[in-house]
Each structure stands twice: as C-alpha cells, then as structure tokens.
Subunit: 165 residues, 2 copies
DNA sequence: ATCGCTGCAAACGGTTTGCAGGACA
DNA sequence: TGTCCTGCAAACCGTTTGCAGCGAT
C-alpha cells in the first residue's frame, strides 16, 4: 500500500506551480491574466482530477465569475505548457490534474463508486522501456488505467454474493 | 518485435464470433436481426479498431442501409455481451474492436500518424496482479496506451533534426 | 497603442433518446 | 401476436469558435 500516493499535493506546491505557469506565459509572451491565475490556482490547490465544470463551480465558490470558454482555454493551455495532464475516465468528459515533475503515475478506477486512486511503480517504467525498444517505438507518454473494484466495494460485492448463496 | 501482433483476425474467426453473438442474443431472449448480424460481421471481419462512423460507411459499401442509432446500439450491445471492447484514442470519438478470448492486449499509438499497433506481454499481467494485490484492488480490466512515435515517424523526426543542425 | 484575452452565445460533433412503424420468435 | 427492434429526427452535452469589447504589457 506504500506506493498508493495521496491526491493532496505537498504544501507550498501551489505557489511554485503558479510561478512556473507565470514563467511559461512570459516566455511565450502571453499575458498573465487574473482569470488564468484563478483557474490555475484552483487546479493546483485541489490536487484532484477536476473537470472543466468542477473548476467553474469552484471558481464561483471563491467569488470569481469566469466564462466556461476561458476555463477550457486555460486548462488546455496548462496542458500545452506541461503543467497539467488530461484524463478520460470514461465519464463522457475530460478531467485535468496538476502535473508535478517528470515522475509518472497511473490510476486505479473503481467502477462502482467512480473514485480514482493513484499509484507509482518504477518497474512499470522499466517494462515500458523494454516494450518500446522491443517494438521500435519511441514512447512519449503512457496512460495505464486499471478498472475494477476498490477494497471496500469488493468486500460489499462479496457480502452480497454470500447473502444470495 | 515478435509480440507485436497483427490486427487481422485468424481465418474463420468471423463465423465463430457470429455464432457466439447469436448464442448470446438467444440466451438473453433478444431477436437476431439482420442489422445486428451485419454490424457484428463488419466488426468481426475487419479486425481493426472501427468507429461507429466507419462501421456505418462499410455497411453502406456492402449495400446495407442501417441507421446510425442502430449501429451505436448494436456496438454497445456487443460490448455488454463481451464480444467487443471500446477504446478511446483521444480522437473525439470511440472505437470498437473484436474481443477474442480472455487474452488481453494493449496499444501503441503513434501520435504523428494516428496509427495503432497492438502488443501482448505476460509480464504486464503479472505486474498488474501485483499492483492490485498491493493496493487491495480487484482489477476487472485494464487499458494501457503508450503514446509516442512509431519507428518510421521517429526516424523522420531524427532526419528533420539532423537537417536543422 | 497593440496585441491577445474574455465572455457570451451560437455552432459543433459524437452519442443518445422518443416515438411510430416494422421485424423477429 | 406480442415484444423488441429499427430508423428518423430531435435532443443532449461536453467542447470549440466567432466576435465585440476589455485588459495586460
């Protein structure tokens, strides 16, 4: 269980990430607007997998009124500059997550409750490298999703079965 | 390279799969209609990753005029009875693929040309089992996608770089 | 002052759904 | 004959886009 990482980012991480975002914008000569900062802060602070809708809602909670188009534009901007990643957990919409450093992590998706846990395994990186060299393929990134039942839901299913039998 | 499998299914596979489909329909007391057979045949024969649109087009090529709603309904039916799998290669729509037997395979997606290759690694199954037991998670299925450049595109990129420098 | 961003609303595109008529068992 | 399917078209919904006005540099 030691490599199932929590979703909450380290303290002070938001400030660092915001700095990186500002730097990236300036590097590309793009204006650092209040909306961009607000959206990025929401994502960085949460450390969760947020949908565009959820980002919008949380902005409203904090008193910021930002158009949905801007939310989409900024999230995809964050992805383009490498500070966020996009995920599709088969919900009919995309989710976004802060991308911290080069370390890659993957996801366990509980199909019963829809929750998402993360994990990190170095042997996966090794295996990926082996597969790539084997197939003559140059891997840039990967997405590994394990769909199934988390421990709690699995236990419930077992209980339900035991009742039937 | 030996475990990069071809996408073409073994000969005679279509008939077997169609039989399984008919059996599944009968088991659930659902009618075996011409449209359902035609759609399933297109998918089974192609052995590729087809979108609903592509299935529609190929049906038209063969002279079958089938409504798009029926295509979607039948494809999702095939998924439900376990004879097809659904994939999202980040194209804005879903693709469907014949699911043959219990063996799982994963995908290499060339982001340059959009091509998809398949591979099979037993050590991945082992690693998956290890991750699952480690996290107390009951895995039902997985999706591993390696995004990057296929050998050809990677070589081209290299050439382009060499020209610049 | 110049660009580029923002917000609104409309457009877009893949997918789903309601319903009248038709096909399968 | 009853049930479920089919096809059409409209609805749906997340996302993108055009454009007039505003904000950052």
């Amino acid at each position: 269980m030691v490599d199932v990482v929590t979703t909450r980012p380290p303290l002070g991480c938001t400030a660092v990430m915001l700095g990186l975002f500002r730097a990236a914008l300036q590097e590309h000569q793009l204006p650092v607007t209040q909306q961009r900062e607000a959206i990025a802060r929401i994502l960085f602070e949460s450390g969760e997998h947020l949908s565009a809708d959820e980002v919008s809602a949380r902005l409203a909670d904090v008193g910021h009124q930002v158009g949905k188009a801007t939310v989409y534009r900024t999230l995809s901007l964050l992805v383009r500059v490498g500070l966020a990643t996009e995920h599709d957990f088969d919900e009919g919409f995309k989710r976004f997550e802060t991308r911290i450093g080069p370390a890659h992590h993957d996801h366990l998706i509980c199909t019963s409750r829809g929750s998402v846990a993360e994990f990190q395994r170095e042997d996966l990186d090794r295996l990926q490298a082996e597969i790539a060299s084997h197939a003559g393929f140059h891997v840039l990134t990967r997405q590994l999703k394990l769909y199934g039942l988390c421990a709690e839901c699995d236990a419930e299913t077992g209980d339900a079965l035991r009742k039937v039998v």
